[in-house]
Structures are given as structure tokens and as C-alpha cells.
């Protein structure tokens, strides 16, 4: 899939040594590795790998959730990581995407899913422009509160508009049309060693209500496309303009960058991806209500981006996995899971202040600072 094709174009994840190792491999080996990796990702929900597979909740569902987080994080990364705009209301776009699907497939019309998803993307994008056009002139942290307000306005409007289903939400959102090509069996580890379990299968691609794996596959494919898009756009004039705007808005403007237009573009693209993610969420959930779009979710999205390393697409993917997956994994902690998650966020912040996979610029700049810190600490303790 696209993940594989996109790989050589972009920067590789992880540390320098890993990057070096990958870089020195022959091209053929690289491609094979990427293909293997992609296949592994696709089979992940069926491999039932012990420890990784969540016990408490359906692993396919968890993976789908993680995938929507990844998608959202990629979108939000454009806004926060590239363009440097702090957005605390991103869930608003997610909601717009989800509700566009809900309204057009169930509540007020019965359009086909294939048609509705692009509409959802466009509607979300337009809402991004509508929000951005007046507010992007507001700077810095003021933007944070304005966007936070936007997210809440969206949610409260949903709660209070019967036309949009009100607090009760929209149910019976239809499934996407499937193609039902073949069945993929799963692995069963209950004997200690993996055994192919032919009785528990997922059908490629049959979108049912109780098998979430095909939705995960769908999301994974879309992530691949978005990732490719991200790589292509970021490594162009557009990406540079975003970075320059983030670094010094006035200087960028004086170097010929129409900063407002580029910020708006970042907002619109971010919104579109958020909307797409929301559309997927609505598709899989089949039921959406304003409760699914709480402010808290915006905050988790932001946490995913920042914890992963705002500005590095691979970093934010890792961040999204952490934020989407760990709370499920922590279900063992039952009541304490939010507490543990909160602690994890704090620890991550303290021990990985630049994010899990910081962007290249931070890595470089940090390397010098770190060595300095080490030397200084050595001195202090001496």
C-alpha cells in the first residue's frame, strides 16, 4: 500500500543510528522490509500477539481507534507542528466530519457512503476556513482559547439542535459498501504457541457491525494516503512557508511569505484531515452523539501530537499510538486507568521534553544543549 511507496520519499523514523542503518541498506531490501512491515500492520489485529493485544477491549476496535488518532494527529500536526498554531478545538472538525456523514446518510438523507466521505472532508475544510479567516489574526495563546471555544460551540450546537439529532445523537449510520474478497484467519495463542484459528476470521472487506478489523484496514489505507500527502506537501514550498511562519511571522512576511494565507491553508488542511477521521469514526461507530466530541478529546489529540514530537510526522504517529492505545492497555488498572494515564503523560513530559521522536530541528539543536547539560551536571556533582 501507500505506506510502502511513501517510505523512501520521507525521512525515516527514530534515531540517527536507526536511520543510518536503514539508509545503508540496498534499495531492494528496504522495499521488502517496508512491504513486510505493511503486511504486519494489516495483520496485526488478527495475530493476537500476547501482551500487545488488549484483553479488556476488542483489539480490532482498539486498533481502529488508534488509527483514527493517528489520522487526527497527522492533521493536527500540520496545524500545531508545522504552522505553529495552538489549536485546542480540533475535535470540532472531527465532529463536523462525523456529523456530515451522520446527517447525510441517516438523519436527513441517505446518500451513499462513497459520496458522503468526500463531502465530509470538504465541509470540514470549509469549517476550517470559516473558523480560521476571522480568528487567525489573533495571535498565540489567544488562538488556543478561541479554537477551544469553537470546539465547544460545535458540540453545544449539536446538543441543542434537534435537526442534528440533539443530545441523543444520530444512530443507524450505514456501513460502507464492502467487497468481500477473502477471509483472513486469526491466530490463537491460548496453547502458548500460535495456532491458526480458522473459526475466527475477518472478511476483507466486509463492513459489519461486530467485526472492527475491516474498518481498521480501511483506516490504515487512508493513513497511508494521508501520510504520502503530508510528505509531499511538507517537502515543498508550502512546508517551508509554514515553518518560516512558525519561526518568525514578521520576518516571514518580509521574505515574501503571505503568512495569513498559509496559516489558513494549514488550518483548512488540518480540518479536512480531522473531518476525514471523524467521518471514519462515525462510519464504524454507527452511532454518534455530542458526547463523543468532548473538549477532553481535543486535549488528548493535542497530547498525541506534542508527546510524539510536534513537527515530526513519525513522532506524532507514535504519540497517537501512545495516547490512543495506552488507555486501553491500562484497562487492567480498571478504575485507576485515567490516573495512570495522567501519570504517564507527566512522566513523558518530564523525561522526553522534546517529544518521543522530536523533529529534526529539535534533535540537532538539542544535541548540543544536552551535552552541555551533562557537562554542567557533572560539574555540579563534582
Amino acid at each position: 500500500m501507500s505506506t510502502t511507496t511513501s517510505a523512501p520519499a520521507g525521512r525515516k523514523p527514530s534515531s540517527r543510528s536507526f536511520k543510518e542503518r536503514v539508509d545503508t541498506m540496498p534499495r531492494a531490501v528496504k522495499i521488502v522490509l517496508w512491504v513486510v512491515f505493511a503486511v504486519f500492520l494489516f495483520l496485526l489485529p488478527l495475530l493476537n500477539i500476547p501482551f500487545i493485544t488488549t484483553e479488556g477491549s476488542d483489539f480490532g476496535g482498539v486498533l481502529f481507534t488508534v488509527a483514527t488518532y493517528v489520522l487526527v494527529a497527522l492533521g493536527l500536526n500540520i496545524v500545531v507542528g508545522y504552522a505553529g498554531l495552538l489549536d485546542l478545538g480540533y475535535v470540532g472538525f472531527y465532529a463536523v466530519g462525523a456529523y456530515t456523514v451522520g446527517v447525510l446518510t441517516s438523519e436527513h438523507a441517505h446518500l451513499s457512503w462513497v459520496l458522503v466521505v468526500p463531502i465530509a472532508i470538504v465541509v470540514a475544510m470549509v469549517s476550517g476556513v470559516i473558523l480560521g479567516a476571522p480568528t487567525l489574526r489573533v495571535r498565540g495563546d489567544y488562538l488556543a482559547i478561541v479554537t477551544l471555544g469553537f470546539g465547544e460551540i460545535v458540540r453545544l450546537t449539536l446538543v441543542n439542535s434537534q435537526w442534528l439529532g440533539g443530545a441523543q445523537g444520530i444512530s443507524d449510520i450505514p456501513k460502507p459498501p464492502g467487497v468481500e474478497l477473502f477471509k483472513v484467519p486469526s491466530l490463537d495463542w491460548s496453547a502458548g504457541v500460535p495456532v491458526v484459528d480458522l473459526s475466527t476470521t475477518s472478511t476483507f472487506l466486509k463492513f459489519g457491525i461486530n467485526d472492527f478489523v475491516p474498518y481498521y484496514w480501511l483506516a490504515l489505507g487512508i493513513i497511508g494516503l494521508v501520510l504520502l500527502f503530508d510528505i509531499l506537501v511538507k517537502s515543498s514550498r508550502v512546508g517551508r512557508a509554514w515553518e518560516a511562519t512558525r519561526e518568525d511571522e514578521d520576518a516571514a512576511e518580509l521574505m515574501g511569505v503571505p503568512t495569513f494565507r498559509f496559516k489558513l491553508l494549514a488550518f483548512a488542511l488540518g480540518a479536512a484531515i480531522g473531518g476525514l477521521s471523524g467521518a471514519l469514526f462515525a462510519t464504524k461507530a454507527g452511532f454518534i452523539s455530542p458526547d463523543s466530541f468532548q473538549l477532553l478529546l481535543s486535549i488528548l489529540f493535542l497530547a498525541a501530537v506534542v508527546v510524539g514530537g510536534a513537527g515530526n510526522r513519525w513522532g506524532v504517529i507514535v504519540g497517537a499510538i501512545v495516547v490512543g492505545y495506552f488507555p486501553e492497555r491500562f484497562r487492567d488498572f480498571a478504575d485507576f486507568r485515567v490516573l495512570v494515564f495522567g501519570l504517564a503523560l507527566m512522566l513523558l513530559a518530564i523525561f522526553r521534553p522534546q517529544g518521543l521522536l522530536p523533529p529534526r530541528r529539535t534533535v540537532r539543536a538539542k544535541r548540543a544543549d544536552d551535552r552541555q547539560a551533562v557537562l554542567e551536571e557533572g560539574e555540579a556533582s563534582a
Binding site: 548540543a368 544543549d369 544536552d370 551535552r371 552541555q372 557537562l375 554542567e376 560539574e379
Partner: protein, 239 residues
């Protein structure tokens, strides 16, 4: 001896910005550090005022070892710095900036402060004129004046001036040096860093020359100014 720096080493990461430098400043002196770009002058100043941690060596001020004293406790002892690149509080007015200079003064509520303010305004009439303008909107040179005025408001024993003439008009450069000489004659010890080496040497009692983090020469201001090697390297085409 007011300030004694011994065997000082300071790093930026693995870069040794200064290596084993030692120098002294006697009470009542003007001492100048000169050196090329990146020689370590600013680093030395920052270390004396506590902004950079010391890797090895010691800094003794007025008989007290201050090597590891936090920077914010040094103004209380009487060390005040006008930093390179000015470091004005851009969002505060000129007046508030000058006020900040007295932050650590024990007698900050007394009349003496008012007198000092008058004095600063006398030296830099522009500051008085603009006392309610935000520092950030002042011109480069005006900010330089403000930074110096603010340092003076602290009424220090030891005044650290890092390139006070940077960005100033030629006429004002003259004035700045006059001011330095004058406050020195009134009892303030000055440690000066300057690119404008000719002027600086002329005005100072003693000077040290830094090269890539090490002191390569020292002597009286006059001796160094007359030295042909120094002339060639540092005074070159200076105005």
C-alpha cells in the same frame, strides 16, 4: 582586589568557550577585555554575573567565593551587568526598566534612588523624554542606552559592560566612554568588553586580550594600545 577570576573554564556543550583564564580587577579600575568575535568575552562576562555555570576554576568577588552563587544573588553583592544585545524588558516602559535596575538594592525605597534616576536622565536625556515608551519600540541605540542606564540604577560596586557602544552613533560612542570614565572616577569599578578596542584601551587602566578562549596578553591600556602587534590585530581600521 574586587574581582579575582582563577583558572576559569566554561563550556557550551563540548565547545570550550573559555579555557583556564585568570584575571583580576582591582577596586576603582577600568579593566577591558578585547578579542575577536567568538573569543569568549561575553562568556566571561556572563560567568562573572552567574548566567553561565562554571566547569572549573573560581570567581572571587570582594573576598567572597561566588563561583556557584546563583546569578540573582549577585546584584545584591554589587555586581551589575549591561548585557550584550541589551536585554531590555521589551514589554515594560523605559521607566519600569530603570525601576528594575533597583530591584535588588537594599535602599530601593530611599531618596538615593531618585537621585540616581536624575543622574541617568542627565546622562541620557532621550530616556527621560521617552520614559513612558515601551522599551521594545525604542530604536536600537536607545535600547542600548536604556540597558546601560538600568545597570547604573543598581548602583553597583562592579559594573560589567558588554559592548556598550554596539549600534551607537559615533558621537554617542564618545559620550559613552566619557560616561564610563566618569562613573569610574566616582568610585565604580568597571569591567568592559569592547570591539571598539582603540577607544576602550585609551580609557582603561588595564586590559586583557582574549584569543579563542584564552588570555594571550595583558598590560596597561596604554602599553597595549601602543603595541604594534595589538595595533595590527585589533585596532586595525578602527574609527
Amino acid at each position: 582586589m574586587l574581582l579575582e577570576v582563577k583558572g576559569l573554564c566554561v563550556n557550551y556543550g563540548r565547545i570550550e568557550a573559555i579555557r583556564d583564564i585568570s584575571f583580576t580587577v582591582e577596586e576603582g579600575e577600568i579593566v577591558t577585555l578585547i578579542g575577536a568575535n567568538g573569543a569568549g568575552k561575553t562568556t566571561t562576562m556572563k560567568t562573572v554575573s552567574g548566567l553561565r555555570p562554571v566547569r572549573a576554576g573560581s570567581v572571587v568577588f570582594n573576598g567572597q567565593d561566588i563561583t556557584h552563587l546563583p546569578s540573582h544573588e549577585r546584584p545584591v553583592l554589587g555586581i551589575s551587568q549591561s548585557p550584550e544585545g541589551r536585554g531590555c524588558f521589551v514589554g515594560m516602559t523605559v521607566m519600569e526598566n530603570l525601576d528594575m535596575g533597583t530591584y535588588a538594592r537594599p535602599d530601593r525605597k530611599s531618596k538615593a534612588v531618585k537621585d540616581d534616576l536624575e543622574r541617568v536622565f542627565e546622562l541620557f536625556p532621550r530616556l527621560k523624554e521617552r520614559s513612558n515608551q515601551a522599551a521594545g519600540s525604542m530604536s536600537g541605540g536607545e535600547q542600548q542606552m536604556l540597558a546601560m542606564g538600568r545597570a547604573l540604577m543598581a548602583k553597583p560596586k562592579l559594573l560589567l559592560l558588554d559592548e556598550p557602544s554596539m549600534g551607537l552613533a559615533p558621537k554617542l560612542i564618545q559620550q559613552i566612554f566619557d560616561i564610563v570614565t566618569e562613573i569610574n572616577s566616582q568610585g565604580t569599578t568597571v569591567l568592559l568588553v569592547e570591539q571598539n578596542a582603540a577607544q576602550a584601551l585609551k580609557r582603561s587602566h588595564r586590559a586583557y586580550i582574549l584569543e579563542t578562549g584564552e588570555i594571550v596578553r595583558e598590560g596597561t591600556g596604554k602599553d597595549l594600545a601602543d603595541d604594534p602587534a595589538v595595533k595590527a590585530a585589533y585596532l586595525g581600521g578602527d574609527v
